[in-house]
């Protein structure tokens, strides 16, 4: 009998079905939560319409790559706002995983016969798909606000969004494994999202940060979110930023490996704490 069991393999088509199923469910949940979509869209638009418009005359941006001429401040902050959408979405997906753990729904995912690392990657991919919808909806509205990008940029930004979405989603996944309850996780989001966003090149170029505070410049330089923003910024203009891509890919791998380890049934934190719904 044991010989038969050693030969047991899950079919390749099954992996595809699992991926489609998880993305489909994430899409359904997203459509059911119209408020989530609206807030994901309104948040960056408020920054674009109010904050950027207000600071247009205060903050001058000199010509720096990838820009070939002076750009409006709204244009400068757009890549940062795109990355912000992905940052929020990554943590929102993780928040839903913490919620799923609390209500027990996470167990249904984890008792699938498919490898756990694969299930977690599928969850990440599903989150990235949702974030792509949000980003393109934002870019469409921004276009009417004079943020007109080269047409090719709307296509070349796609791989950059996949990579940055993977990094930010994996970071959220890792965080979701560390917290037992929604309340803890929600408060931590404030300590993560805002520092990551403000201490980056999303709102101002790094050379301006360096002029005003060297310490802050160092913090921005070590912030992986800075590289996600720069990767997206260059990709929006059809250009490739190799160092930013390398940093984002490296961080994505580290976060993903750590979260897979955290959810591992033998070595993970859950096994020590008492399982995925240990909060109860």
């Amino acid at each position: 009998m044991s010989r038969h069991h050693h030969r047991f393999r899950l079919p390749i088509s099954g992996y595809l079905i699992v991926l489609i199923g998880i993305c489909w469910r994430e899409g359904l949940r997203f459509l059911n939560q119209r408020g989530r979509f609206l807030s994901a869209l309104v948040r960056p638009l408020v920054w674009l319409f109010i904050f950027a418009a207000g600071f247009r005359s205060v903050l001058g941006v000199s010509i720096i790559p990838p820009y070939e001429t002076y750009v409006l401040y709204e244009v400068y902050v757009t890549p940062g706002l795109v990355a912000m959408i992905q940052l929020f979405n990554g943590l929102q997906s993780s928040l839903s995983m913490v919620y799923d753990r609390e209500v027990g729904a996470m167990r249904i995912l984890l008792v699938s016969p498919y490898p756990r690392w694969y299930l977690l990657v599928c969850k990440l991919v599903a989150g990235i798909c949702v974030s792509l919808l949000q980003v393109y909806a934002f870019l469409a509205v921004a276009w009417f606000w004079e943020v007109e990008l080269p047409p090719i940029g709307y296509f070349t930004v796609m791989p950059a969004l996949l990579l940055s979405g993977l990094m930010l989603g994996a970071m959220g996944l890792l965080m979701s494994s560390l917290f037992r309850q929604m309340e803890n996780f929600a408060s931590v989001m404030n300590f993560v999202i805002f520092p990551m966003f403000f201490a980056s090149s999303a709102l101002y170029p790094l050379w301006r940060v360096q002029e005003s505070s060297l310490a802050l410049w160092w913090i921005c330089t070590f912030n992986p979110f800075t590289y996600a923003v720069e990767l997206i910024r260059f990709a929006l203009y059809g250009q490739f930023a190799p160092f930013a891509a390398l940093v984002v890919a490296g961080c994505a791998l580290v976060f993903l490996a750590a979260s897979i380890l955290a959810y591992d049934p033998s070595a993970g934190v859950m096994a020590r704490r008492g399982g995925p719904d240990a909060a109860k």
Binding site: P11, G14, G21, W24, G104, P113, Y114, P265
Partner: protein, 261 residues
């Protein structure tokens, strides 16, 4: 599109239990939740895992479903080691957890389809199977309703339907009747007993409600993480000399308490 596991383990021979747990211990930090637990669930049997709250039932279920790994002993589902051959073991295992695990915002059918895809069953085949099971259970008319609008008993029935979507040979139910009224509880027990009789599925039914256990059932008494007794309903009564299972259970638990003291 429906994916069928390649080289599915051949049907286990006679005598291979649906579930075999041997020498399993588990601790969370210094707290020992399970201590050298061994038990069998024969194929086609209704086995009740009887124990008070905190006995270790949920921990045992977590190990059997590989939410985390057992660090000692072995757990086999129809001959497949849960830790070493998780895909083979989990693909033949259906489970209803103590906590409700349905997505309240989705419809009944969507919940079932989602579960089907997690087992590699495509949408068309999943839909067919879901409607078939819902019809058998008499709740096909609720397929398009959001789960939020179902009663507690209906939710449990949907969870059982969901656990059966991928045609498991072992069904685990962790205190499934908690929070249900008497009528819903009786209906649920009858539904699961029918599965055992008609489909030959092995069932492990964790409970602390003695009334859910009847003559002919196998009973495993778990208390403070240890198996205190295992056998048929009738054997347990005879062994303890009690008049009914409640008395027998209390005696076993008291004996364990005195031994520990």
């Amino acid at each position: 599109m429906t994916a069928r596991p390649r080289d599915l383990p051949s049907a286990p021979g006679a005598g291979v239990p649906a579930l075999a747990v041997s020498g399993v211990s588990h601790a969370f930090g210094v707290r020992k939740a399970l201590d050298d637990v061994s038990l069998d669930v024969p194929a086609g049997s209704f086995t009740a895992l009887l124990g008070p709250n905190g006995a270790g039932k949920t921990t045992l279920f977590s190990l059997v479903t590989r939410l985390y790994d057992n660090r000692s002993g072995a757990i086999h589902v129809l001959g497949s080691d849960v830790r070493r051959q998780p895909a083979a073991a989990l693909s033949r295992l259906g489970v209803v957890f103590q906590a409700r695990t349905l997505d309240l915002e989705l419809t009944v059918l969507d919940n079932l389809l989602y579960h089907a895809t997690l087992h590699g069953i495509g949408f068309r085949a999943g839909r067919h199977r879901a409607l078939e099971l819902l019809a058998q259970d008499g709740i096909a008319d609720r397929a398009s309703d959001k789960v939020r609008n179902l009663s507690g008993g209906q939710m449990r029935r949907v969870e059982i339907v969901r656990a059966l979507m991928h045609r498991p040979r072992l069904l685990l139910l962790d205190e499934p009747t908690v929070g249900l009224d008497i009528a819903s509880r009786a209906a649920l027990v009858a539904q699961v007993r029918a599965l055992v009789a008609q489909e030959g599925i092995g069932v492990l039914w964790a409970t602390h409600i003695i009334e859910e256990i009847g003559p002919g059932d196998r009973v495993v008494v778990l208390h403070r993480g240890r198996v205190r007794a295992e056998g048929s309903y009738e054997e347990l009564l005879a062994r303890s000399g009690g008049e009914d299972l409640s008395a027998a259970f209390l005696q076993l638990v008291d004996d364990a308490g005195e031994a520990a003291a």
